[in-house]
Symmetry: C2
Subunit: 564 residues, 2 copies
């Protein structure tokens, strides 16, 4: 593509306005996105239509995904869609002793390009990803088990939003210090001391992105783009069940880097052989200076303790709580909660797990409701939402892996089942494992129940925990956040006093709170440029998406001073 070289001028013309809008959005935190959510918005101006996206996806299946990376020493693959079919894609397996030095080779030129060019190159990568959102949607769907529309939005446009948000934060952070300064210090009668100073943001080296199974792009893009935009190379180590979306991403990034005159090896893929477990070995390599990880608490804690040569950003397990105190929109509350429990079969790090409901019941606009009534009505709301199999399939997607299914089956024995999990047939994908949410009643005062509700039960499992009072609920909320962490907290109350009290708990324990959601916004969804994902201040995650702390330590500023 010699004729289509991406010069800084081209990049600036195409993407500087978008960067400026993103910078404005993170300042105002008003709604904004340049990435349409609707599948029909694509198919023109160079973006793939639904048909072309599907065709592109199908063309990839059963093929060898060559990336022309240094150190390729074989091929590996083995992804099987949660919807049934094996993908049959083979990825390069790499010798990291060859690849890592090659990834460092382009760092100097990438540093010298400066923050703006790096940001604009990242935006070009995101634009090309956006143009292929239909293709990515299939890749995300068939690795995560998300239903198509969710894969399109969460795995496509929203992931792109989060990537762009990270670029905006990274850019802003790097240009806060001027490139040059003249310094003149008065010395009374003597002439002033004068220095000329330059300040250069320099990346730390090679960053490692350890991808997850459920949200390979959404959870991967912030770290990937934050590291790349701050002058680092990025080695992408996908979850072995969710390689394809990140392999597509790496290919696009490499193409854009090369076209813009940079070393494509600044972004590379490290796919692993079954059972190889290369993340542990990679994480402690001296070349790896930054790690982004989404996954289990055990491995996240291991990374934080052992990858001491790196900055480590982790999103781990948490236990999300909803405090149900009172509501003046009972139907809306039930509908909203039913949706949150159902979306992607509860396989989101933000899905509510523990619903804390006073055992003496709550007041509502539909009259007082006992604990049992609230639970029964919620169960009915879920059943109503998912009564139609087509709609159920569209919301639930498929269980991402056998562990989730096993956990779901075991959870039915933890207490009284208020809503059993139902098997749903997906006519398009008969091998998909589709299950509706399980709702289990637990008595919050019984010590044996605590083992259940104080652990993350990842998947379509929620607990209706009977508590003595709203005050008791708030104490349990506090303890849950403090000990187990939380990505998202919700509360329903009509009382100003309770509202203040739950806010106080979330402020003191550092958790993100949604109050009285009864419409089309859900506690488990956040919007880039406006909502923070996690707080970085409780055990569920040591970083928030996205803030300055997420980007500011991915680079350092080197100062050179000389006599003026």
């Amino acid at each position: 593509m010699a004729a289509a070289q991406l010069t800084p001028a081209h990049l600036s013309e195409r993407h500087r306005p978008t960067l400026d809008q993103a910078l404005e959005a993170i300042r105002t935190r008003a709604y904004w996105s340049p990435h349409p959510e609707h599948p029909k918005a694509y198919g023109e101006n160079g973006s793939l239509s639904a048909e072309d996206g599907l065709a592109a996806h199908r063309a990839t299946l059963g093929s060898r995904f060559d990336l022309d990376q240094p150190g390729t020493d074989g091929w590996t693959g083995g992804e099987v869609s949660p919807y049934g079919p094996a993908l049959g894609v083979e990825y390069p397996h790499v010798d990291v002793d060859v690849l890592l030095p090659a990834m460092r080779a382009g760092l100097g030129a990438w540093r010298d390009a400066g923050p703006e060019t790096r940001a604009l190159v990242c935006l070009e990568i995101l634009a090309r990803i956006s143009a292929r959102t239909h293709e990515f949607a299939h890749a995300v769907m068939h690795t995560s088990g998300q239903a198509f529309v969710m894969a399109f939005q969460a795995g496509g446009s929203h992931a792109q939003d989060r990537g762009l948000e990270a670029v905006a934060y990274a850019y802003e952070e790097q240009v806060r210090t001027p490139r040059e300064a003249e310094w003149s210090k008065p010395q009374g009668k003597r002439g002033p001391l004068e220095l000329r100073k330059t300040f250069t943001p320099v990346g730390r080296g090679v960053a490692l992105l350890i991808g997850c199974n459920t949200f390979p792009t959404w959870n991967g893009y912030p770290g990937l783009f934050a590291s790349l935009a701050t002058g680092n190379a990025v080695l992408v180590k996908p979850h072995p069940r969710a390689v394809l979306p990140l392999a597509l991403t790496v290919r696009i990034a490499r193409d854009v880097l090369a076209e813009a005159g940079f070393d494509p090896n600044l972004v590379a893929l490290a796919a692993e052989r079954p059972g190889e477990g290369i993340a542990k070995a990679l994480a402690v390599r001296p070349e790896i200076r930054i790690i982004d990880y989404t996954g289990s608490t055990a491995f996240g804690d291991w990374l934080e303790a052992n990858a001491r040569q790196a900055q480590v950003y982790t999103e781990k397990a948490g236990v999300n709580t909803i405090v149900v105190d009172s509501t003046d929109e009972y139907r809306g509350m039930l509908a909203n909660l039913a949706f949150s429990l159902s979306l992607y079969s509860g396989q989101m790090c933000t899905t509510p797990q523990n619903l804390l409901i006073p055992r003496d019941g709550i007041t509502t606009d539909a009259g007082p409701k006992s604990y049992d009534e609230v639970v029964t009505d919620l169960a009915a709301a879920v059943e109503g939402l998912l009564g139609d199999d087509a709609r159920a399939n569209g919301l639930l997607g498929a269980l991402v892996n056998p562990d989730v299914k096993a956990r779901l089956e075991a959870a039915a024995g933890l207490g009284e089942v208020a809503l059993p999990s139902r098997e749903v047939v997906n006519p398009d994908f008969p091998d998909a494992v589709v299950r509706t949410p399980l709702l289990v009643k637990l008595d919050g005062s019984k010590p044996d129940a605590e083992a259940a509700y104080m652990s993350e039960c990842f998947g379509p499992v929620s607990f209706a925990v009977a508590v003595d009072s709203t005050a008791g609920a708030l104490e349990l909320l506090r303890r849950t956040i403090r000990e187990k962490g939380a990505m998202a907290v919700g509360a329903y109350t009509t009382s100003q006093e309770v509202e203040r009290a739950v806010e106080e708990v979330c402020l003191e324990e550092s958790a993100q709170l949604s109050l009285n959601l009864t419409g089309g916004v859900y506690v488990n969804q956040t919007a880039a440029f406006s909502d923070f994902h996690g707080s970085g201040g409780n055990p569920a995650a040591n970083a928030a998406l996205c803030d300055s702390a997420f980007v500011a330590n991915r680079f350092r500023v080197v100062e050179v001073r000389r006599p003026a």
Copy 2:
């Protein structure tokens, strides 16, 4: 002081303009300081004159330094001035099981005060410290061994600058996210989704400042004020030999907090009994969420590995290098280096240790100079600078502790002594241990010399390391930064090519570089608001003073969203 209550309006009137100037200074990085360096600038407008400062200092000596802190369970002291006299001050010893919960009590109100009020309270604390700079100078002098003028400037005005700089960064970081936002997402034909969002910066809890012996205020203030301004309480654990400057600071902070209507226990002192070593126990307390530390690599590494519940900011040992390639100002270079080696007896973390000089000599404006000539001329420059005992005392100060003296004496055996260390008598303080710098020749190609020059030899010891070439010097520079870290690097060269090469090494290894300093700016001095102290990107320190990364993770932003 009921009549002198500090209202937000008072605080804003007094300090908002200063805060705005500080914010502007960190953006432009031009010269700025509101804290006069000259001792004669004080004595009016409520500030202590030289006489009053000395009187205040003398009044403190031999007294009990009460802070009215919760949990006081006895008294401890024992500071002895490096200039000889025992200070005789006793400080409260605390039961941390009582003190730490008491320090948490005021966190909610401190959080609710918001970033601006917190910043302005910090500026009032700094203003009162500034007014007592003469008193602080004596306290710093008689704990660190700095000479009076240096104690006045580095321990007084420059430390205040670094504290104010940290407040400015902390403020700016907290107000980047708006307090409130309206969010309205279009939904096509349906009405938009609308949310009202609030964003609150919340501190992490109690921060621990572990002070150092040599620069109790300069190295202590950035962490102290960064933590306080971001909504944390701060427990100050001074070095047992340098309690007084930080005890004075804590008293002033407590007074100001109380007058402004906040809990004075947001800042407290933890003085320790001889040999008690409380830093280790404090550092792993669950209440401690942030730690700032300046000191040995061994304890810094221990903190990073073990204080896992806290954000840990460390400044540890490093080996500072000067590359001597060529100069067109030979006299200026020698004079500049002589001053840098002499200032505070080389007891600065930024003092040059290794001077890398090609064994075939260098070119200068005074003709070619052999390695031996450069070393001899530098030794003569140091001798000239320190030939007069009064001037020598004013530059050298006193050795801070017996370890430095022992190290200095041992270092004379490491190689050929080019300049022996000389004992200087201080007529005012005959017990002070005052020594001129030792300069030792080492052959960089000899493996047995490497053990010497590749370790930090803290104190008035420098090595003139003969290297094969400038290229060899750059390789040794790179290896030294990478393996041992560096707070400051200097280079002298008239070659554009060499200049670019040394810059490249510093960019790649993340070290701050001063080029061709021949006048009144020294490699071991940095100016707040303009120069970064350390890079945070090599083993000498994991943080730079001061940048966003130093403040952005001391608080988290808690978001609450509700239907609009």
